[in-house]
């Protein structure tokens, strides 16, 4: 297994508060906060693309790691909001980073994409060398597609996160992961080309509130680790109410789940890595201390990944 070496992120400068959205959506700003825990989110400029966001997060991560892009052996880009059927943003992002020619893989999974990308990179880094995983989402372009749906428009924001996975060293070792997919729920959360996003929120929340705690237990049980032994949970920032319910299901304090959803909203696959970037800057990995990543999203895809400070 490989090591997490550094995180990085980028969020656009334009802040969209609940009051601005509430006016457009015909609802109350307090209702948005109650339903989601979100106070504001960031929107990219119309000229700013998913690849632009990815490139900025990538540079931030490489700068924090003090690693030149030329050292990379692979780039993985997760995005569910890339506007093109093909090619996805991975190859162009790698080219912009100055590393054309290395393998660049797209993970078009939306919310769980960064978790799946981390788990894949953990196995691939030993073969290809350092892997830069990037998750970049321009969800404003998705939710602005008419007709406006307030149940989805209140949730999403734009941003990008990145993580450098090294085969040999880093502040945390990737110990194990568990990934699951179930296409029986493909129709419950989907984004067709040139269509508005469709989300059956009741089914998504009902399933996520069961599946995420279950996969975390499935991950931890073989290591004889109770959830209470985990220092921090770094989850996909979907909805604060969901994060709290998952914490309750695991019988751990919600404060153990790092949360920045109030400031950025749900940035789909980018959210977990943006959260990891902020968390690592504030506290970070401690030696021999376990941290769990977890994600859930369209597909449904879900999973969890265990790392231990090295």
């Amino acid at each position: 297994m490989a090591f997490l070496q550094a995180f990085g992120c980028y969020v656009p400068s334009r802040v969209v508060g609940n009051a601005e959205l509430a006016t457009r959506l015909g609802c109350e700003a307090d209702w948005i906060l109650t339903m989601s825990g979100i106070v504001e989110r960031r929107y990219a400029e119309p000229s700013e693309s998913v690849i632009d966001l990815a490139e900025r997060a990538a540079h931030d991560c490489l700068n924090r790691a003090n690693v030149e892009a030329s050292k990379l052996g692979m780039v993985i880009v997760s995005s569910g909001s890339s506007p093109r059927r093909f090619p996805g943003p991975a190859a162009e992002t790698a080219a912009r980073l100055g590393v054309p020619g290395i393998p660049a893989i797209d993970v078009p999974m939306a919310s769980a994409g960064s978790l799946f990308g981390l788990a894949m990179a953990a196995h691939l880094a030993g073969v290809y060398g350092p892997i830069l995983l990037i998750a970049a989402e321009k969800m404003s372009a998705v939710v602005e597609h008419p007709p406006l749906d307030r149940n989805t428009a209140i949730l999403f924001g734009d941003g990008a996160g990145a993580c450098l996975i090294d085969p040999n060293e880093g502040p945390a070792k990737i110990v194990d992961s568990r990934l699951h997919s179930d296409g029986s729920f493909a129709e419950n959360l989907k984004l067709e080309f040139d269509q508005p996003i469709h989300m059956d929120g009741r089914t998504v929340i009902l399933q996520a509130s069961r599946k995420v705690p279950a996969v975390i237990r499935e991950l931890l049980d073989p290591h004889a680790l109770p959830a209470s032994a985990i220092d921090t949970f770094l989850m996909h920032q979907a909805n604060q109410n969901l994060i709290v319910r998952i914490a309750q299901a695991l019988e751990v304090a919600p404060e153990k789940f790092f949360s920045n959803i109030a400031r950025y909203g749900n940035t789909s696959s980018a959210s977990m890595l943006i959260a990891a970037t902020e968390w690592s800057a504030q506290s970070g990995f401690k030696r021999d201390t376990p941290v769990v990543f977890a994600g859930f999203g369209a597909g449904f895809h879900w999973g969890a990944l265990l790392v231990v400070g090295s």
């Binding site: 009741r202 089914t203 929340i205 009902l206 069961r210 319910r245």
Partner: protein, 78 residues
């Protein structure tokens, strides 16, 4: 208590809102349940009726009304 009375008690405890008199009326459309009260209610029903709802059955429509919940429990509870 009848099954329906036990279901009503569970819903009342979770939602803390007036429950429609008509057991066929949607608990979502009437505002009794929202997306986050639903998983709480299902967990409470599992405890009350000592049953486990499998993930494949976690469909909001199965728990949309008192009548549908009662039907599900009659079929699945031990």
């Amino acid at each position: 208590m009848t099954t329906q009375e036990r279901i009503l008690a569970v819903i009342q405890k979770v939602a803390q809102k007036p429950i429609p008199a008509d057991p066929e009326e949607s608990l979502f459309e009437s505002g009794v349940l929202d997306s986050f009260a639903l998983p709480d209610m299902v967990s409470a029903l599992e405890q009350e009726f000592k049953m486990k709802v499998p993930d494949a059955d976690l469909n909001p429509r199965k728990f949309d009304s008192v009548a549908r919940i009662e039907n599900y429990i009659e079929v699945h509870a031990a």
